[in-house]
Amino acid sequence: AQSVAQPEDQVNVAEGNPLTVKCTYSVSGNPYLFWYVQYPNRGLQFLLKYITGDNLVKGSYGFEAEFNKSQTSFHLKKPSALVSDSALYFCAVRDSASKIIFGSGTRLSIRP
């Protein structure tokens, strides 16, 4: 059965420092991986996705994610964090045989 895990409930980073939000997954076929961000009282906003090809995917707001097949991971990264990046981040996965499944979310807090 497919699954996705976000091992950290919260990540705290100082503004200007690099940030990483972790995601690991399990699927039976080829994975399709997504990152979404949720601001308070808002719906989810799409950041980026991995389909195939280059393992480094670039997305909105300067975010990028690295697909690592051997470690079954798809960590979200940004070289320099902004206070405005503070939000709830969700990793999601699906394969060709199943519906999309979301992780439990990681709250990112950027301190000035």
Binding site: F34, N41, G43, L44, F46, S96, F102, S104, G105
Partner: protein, 116 residues
């Protein structure tokens, strides 16, 4: 381009009452999704429509939840009767076709339901 619209934004009801949520997807999007997001959890798919047909409702509690998309555009999700554990945010999303596995879904702001 207008986004996914949902109403109401907030709803408070007592258990055993009924409630309905409305969603209008992005114009031209054939696929519509309803998700339930319980506090502290990621969204869980309840039902997926392709035009006005149901593609997946395997996680919809059919004894109390129902949904329809009669004209293949907007959709209504109903809970009757509501239970305390139905307290959650109900998210509607849409995508262009839905048949492409990698397709991006666009989410509305959600309806926050509190059942007392």
């Amino acid at each position: 381009e207008a986004g996914v619209a949902q109403s109401p934004r907030y709803k408070i009801i007592e258990k055993r009452q009924s409630v309905a949520f409305w969603c209008n997807p992005i114009s031209g999007h054939a696929t519509l999704y309803w998700y339930q997001q319980i506090l502290g959890q990621g969204p869980k798919l309840l039902i997926q429509f392709q035009n006005n047909g149901v593609v997946d409702d395997s996680q919809l509690p059919k004894d109390r939840f129902s949904a329809e998309r009669l004209k293949g555009v907007d959709s209504t999700l109903k809970i009757q009767p509501a239970k305390l554990e139905d307290s959650a945010v109900y998210l509607c999303a849409s995508s262009v076709a839905g048949a492409v596995i990698s397709e991006t879904q666009y989410f509305g702001p959600g309806t926050r339901l509190l059942v007392l």
